[in-house]
Symmetry: C2
Subunit: 200 residues, 2 copies
């Protein structure tokens, strides 16, 4: 499937922000000045463990994963992000301490980056942005909380069903290995869940 980058990337970001609070001319002009469009190859990193996360990343096209690698070299997926979503290690971004996370493109992608000084500029000069980003992060918070609840209270099988139900759009774009890592099990065990389910 070819990737069509037909619409102006910045326009996708403006539309996204308009869904929260409509931007005025001045804010749009400012955004154009301070947002950077980038093309990202498959497997390329936006952030690697040990680095400080310096950007808020908005996905225009493509798919990313954010994960940790533990002492046993195992990958643990924290989140995925696709079109019109944000992906950033907010902890590292704000504290300016080295991140323990990786953000990596799962597909060839196009993103828009906003550097920290620019985001602070928006927060200070256009107070509207505080409101929009408050709402965006509140939504992410709720999603994360539900996921934690699920993780500590349900079986692997149920988490897999919920994943399929909640994120059907991600299913075709991710390997089972990545999904297994997201729901907190091994790829082998996910494979068993799937084959057992297929035999019903």
């Amino acid at each position: 499937m070819p990737h069509s980058f037909s619409q102006m990337p910045i326009q996708k970001l403006i539309n996204h922000l308009n869904d929260y609070l409509p931007l005025n001319e001045e804010e749009i002009a400012d955004l154009n000045k301070r947002a950077t469009v980038r093309k990202i190859k498959r497997r390329q990193y936006l952030l690697a463990a040990g680095e400080v996360c310096k950007f808020y990343n908005f996905v225009v096209e493509g798919c990313f994963k954010m994960y940790k690698i533990d002492e046993a070299a195992k990958e643990h997926n924290l989140m995925f992000a696709i079109e019109n979503e944000w992906i950033t290690d907010i902890g590292s971004f704000h504290s300016e301490q080295p991140s323990q996370l990786y953000i990596e493109a799962v597909e060839p992608a196009q993103i828009i980056q906003i550097a920290k000084p620019d985001l602070l500029h928006f927060y200070t000069n256009h107070l509207k942005f505080n409101r929009t980003f408050r709402v965006i992060i509140e939504d992410q918070f709720v999603e994360l909380q539900n996921r934690l609840l699920q993780t500590i209270s349900t079986t692997a099988e149920e988490r897999y069903f919920r994943f399929m139900k909640d994120y059907p759009r991600l299913l075709n774009r991710l390997s089972n290995t990545q999904i297994a890592s997201y729901i907190g099990i091994t790829p082998e065990f996910l494979s068993r869940i799937r084959s057992q389910q297929a035999s019903k």
Copy 2:
């Protein structure tokens, strides 16, 4: 240990908010008008599953837990909140859908409640509040993300050590049953971890 409610409760909230962005006279007056101080007994609920969460709750004194009860009648702790922290089911609060969570006092407590219309009033009329609450929730988000990461990538023993290290102030205030529920294990297994650790 007796509970001293000496300082004006509202003043504790004002101090807390001042730590983010100093409030002016008008904002303080507005807060006095729209914030409600309440005394809460041990075991009393601020929210029960099935209800819509109608308040942002700021803890002046005491300790609360927010949890889910699953089909097997088991309790799963999502968070605790003590002095100068907020506890609310943000999902239910914003969507105005029934919550699946309980918020319950672990100790006799005093809180300040802000109802949704009042919070929206602050967000709209004092834009500063958007910034403060954005930062508060960003911090909570980071904490939650670290916890999820831990939950999907470490052993029960390690989670218990981390809990003791990260929340020493909570240790004496909570039963082991509550801590076990928070780190996602059974009380029996936590007891085993503890006795095994003691024998070293």
